[in-house]
Symmetry: C2
Subunit: 257 residues, 2 copies
């Protein structure tokens, strides 16, 4: 732990200079702590370096460190114990299920460098299940894209996307290794308006093998069907994300809506 801590604390200021010269110091610190947790340098229950140590290593004021820690407390990543210090909560990044955002957009906003590797990209006839979920006849072609998703080089899981080509014809012209599908939908004027999501948990040896992690780690499996104007299904997205690094957040108001 100490060696990792020293290395990280020591290495980051230069990286900051290279990558994001105008980023505020506190978001840079928050992002660095997220990366420590993501890479397992700090795990659930571990105590973070003291405020003093962080001030010194990042060469910032106490107020800046506190601002960064407050952001991480709000995100549920850490908690503070008065007079003792800050601790890692669960070691999981929390993804917001209340808004229809994509993996890329959500984690880019957090500075976690989301990346994708396309395993499969094919134009084909829909499976029976895809027909049912997307309301397709068996001859309506779909584009199917399977991607591994990474955050700062850590493989987080696998997503399988099925898009009816007649609903989003431009899907055939974009590279989903570098382009956000949801941003693309907004760019072409067909933003998502509604989504249904089913959340389950699985142990999936196939996914584990794809991203090279132990097979006994469970996955959160989210199946999302999203609709554009006119109640037309534009995607079936099946996400399997490793539950040791990932969790979901849903907030609600009002009882018995």
């Amino acid at each position: 732990m100490l060696a990792a801590e020293d290395a990280s604390l020591g290495a980051k200021p230069e990286a900051m200079g290279q990558m994001a010269p105008k980023e505020p110091n506190y978001t840079y610190i928050a992002r660095t702590v997220r990366q420590w947790i993501l890479h397992g340098e700090y795990s659930a229950g571990d105590k973070l370096p003291s405020e003093e140590a962080m001030c010194k290593e990042f060469a910032v004021s106490r107020m800046t460190v506190r601002q960064a820690l407050a952001e991480l407390v709000n995100a549920g990543l850490i908690y503070r114990v008065k007079g003792i210090g800050a601790f890692v909560s669960t070691g999981q990044l929390e993804r917001d299920l209340n808004s229809i955002t994509g993996f890329h957009e959500e984690f880019q906003n957090l500075g976690l460098n989301p990346e994708s590797r396309v395993l499969v990209s094919e134009r084909r006839l829909p499976t029976r299940y895809e027909q049912l979920r997307l309301g397709l006849t068996k001859y309506q072609l779909v584009r199917f894209v399977r991607r591994i998703r990474y955050l700062t080089d850590v493989p987080m899981g696998v997503q399988s996307l099925t898009v009816p080509i007649h609903v989003v014809p431009s899907i055939e012209n974009i590279d989903l290794e570098t382009t956000s599908f949801y941003r693309h939908l907004r760019d072409v004027g067909v933003p998502l308006e509604r989504a249904d999501q089913n959340i389950s948990a699985v142990v999936d040896a196939e996914v584990a093998a794809l991203i090279d992690i132990p097979t006994d780690i469970p996955y959160l499996r989210v199946e999302r069907t999203s609709f554009v104007r006119g109640n037309l299904a534009a995607e079936l997205l099946v996400s399997s994300f490793r539950a040791d690094k990932y969790s979901y957040h849903v907030s609600l108001t009002g009882e018995d809506r």
Copy 2:
């Protein structure tokens, strides 16, 4: 499969007479199919009996059977393939995470006979984690109740409930084996107004041992903190439900809230 099918189809009409004389036939049929799936008599991918067979066995019209099947399709439990029949989707009951309902209320509405067994019920000081989540000082007493939850005698999981006694003093007088906590809150005039939920997946040998199922089945773990008027935390509820029988549903409208 056939033996179980015969037994269920044969046995139910009498049970219907005993239990719910005024229940419409189609909800009775839907409930019976839910029980088949819950008890594993029909698993993911299995074909249900034909409409003809169900008409005959339940002694109802084709329209009534179709109404029951439509309800199950809407709940995501089954899907129909034209000209072939109805199939079990995932074998999981889907719980709605969009409303702050309790286990008891939600499944009672579906006629699945929710029951509880209290494992622990104690008045004690809050743990450090409970203090953080519920905004308590270390001397504010809580009631802690741990329950196994059943549906039609099938153990579904374990729930641990922590309630600050000064927020809901009447928690000391109710029996959570027979009373719904959420209904009680409404009865005493402090309904829940807001909840934050974190959803993760775990493999939990302790829970598996408690409800006596294989240790390699993952659990959906939902941690819910609920608030009453004045932003006062009234409960910390940690639910661990077996993912082979259980999933969650979240629907959304509008992108980028």
